[in-house]
């Protein structure tokens, strides 16, 4: 591994070009998995991981500065908390409307089966989980890759990568 391949520097021109070509398609595929998660295989978790993989791909190909422009650490933390709170808020709304925590208050037969809205609140849950998993896994990768462990004396020490 040369210094050129480190997180801050980004990778070669070939990798950058391929990354630009495929990143939108991966993002759209992740959104498809989230939104149609209750009709076809997929769901909030798998779609969220794929959305996080898009940001990780950009970070690996272009370096740390580029990804911090798109998704600063504060914004990622905000999206993560937003997903968790959206999940809880829908559950509380169901408690107030139907009287039972986590009871689906949108009648499932209203839109008919195999339609986008046929799952009721399941769609909102999927989106909340996807937001949470996307921002969360990206943050985990980010904090793991900007620090490195070095051996100093006989104890381990974590420093920021230059």
């Amino acid at each position: 591994m040369t210094e050129n391949n480190s997180v801050s520097g980004g990778m070669s021109e070939l990798v950058k070009t391929v990354c630009v070509a495929v990143e939108e398609f991966i993002f759209v595929f992740g959104c498809y998995l989230v939104i149609y998660g209750h009709l076809s295989p997929g769901g909030g978790f798998a779609g969220g991981v794929i959305l996080a993989a898009v940001f990780i791909l950009i970070m690996l190909a272009f370096g740390k500065e580029r990804i911090l422009k798109i998704m600063p650490r504060k914004r990622a933390a905000f999206i993560e908390s937003l997903g968790a709170l959206l999940f809880l808020a829908v559950a509380w709304a169901e408690l107030y409307i139907s009287g039972i925590f986590f009871r689906n208050f949108i009648p499932s037969s209203a839109a008919g089966h195999f339609k986008l809205m046929s799952g009721g609140t399941i769609l909102i849950y999927n989106i909340a989980i996807a937001l949470k998993v996307m921002a969360g896994l990206f943050l985990v990768f980010f904090v793991l890759s900007i620090t490195r462990v070095i051996l100093e004396g006989d104890k381990l020490k974590m420093v920021k990568k230059q």
Partner: protein, 174 residues
């Protein structure tokens, strides 16, 4: 036929784990573990569980990236120490006891693909009409068992807060 393919993939998984254990280079170990994960997802696909196969593939890719990034930039040293006799013997004895218990448990299991439990039958028969979700897995994890999903989300949240806190404080003190 399905069982033959699964047994073949399981044998390959054991082989991959052995390579990961015995390899001197840590990068080869990480890649061998990745191969094991992809074979597991192939098994899920053969068992007609596309949801879990998809999650396995994407998580495997993400874990591989994180592990390779974590191992490749650090001072990797090879371990050549041999194990002591007593821990190894104790390990073998415990493994043998576990093997006997597991063999007895597996002999009493229902046949492959049968033995649908009562609640699973309820989900399969009524899931679409109860929740309106055509994907039964989603209807279970986000409607019947939504509390579990809330707990998982909380675990992920707590793990993330812990990771950020620990790594940030050490980096700031430097």
């Amino acid at each position: 036929m399905t069982e033959t393919i699964i047994l073949f993939l399981l044998a390959l998984m054991i082989l991959g784990s052995l390579i990961a254990l015995e390899s001197k280079d840590i990068l080869s170990s990480v890649i061998a573990m990745g191969a094991v994960g992809f074979m597991l997802s192939a098994i899920f696909l053969i068992l007609r569980a596309p949801d879990i196969a998809m999650v396995q593939v994407v998580i495997e890719i993400l874990t591989l990236i994180i592990l390779i990034r974590a191992t490749i930039s650090r001072d990797v040293h090879t371990v050549t120490d041999t194990r002591d006799f007593l821990p190894l013997a104790l390990n073998m004895v415990l493994l043998f006891v576990f093997f006997i218990i597991a063999a007895e448990a597996i002999r009493n299991m229902p046949d492959f693909g049968t033995g649908l439990s009562k609640v699973a039958g309820h989900y399969l028969n009524r899931g679409l009409n109860d929740t309106g979700s055509a994907n039964i897995v989603t209807s279970v994890i986000l409607d019947y068992r939504a509390y579990d999903t809330l707990g998982e989300a909380t675990v992920l949240f707590a793990a993330l807060i812990g990771a950020i806190t620990i790594l940030r404080r050490k980096a700031k003190n430097d």
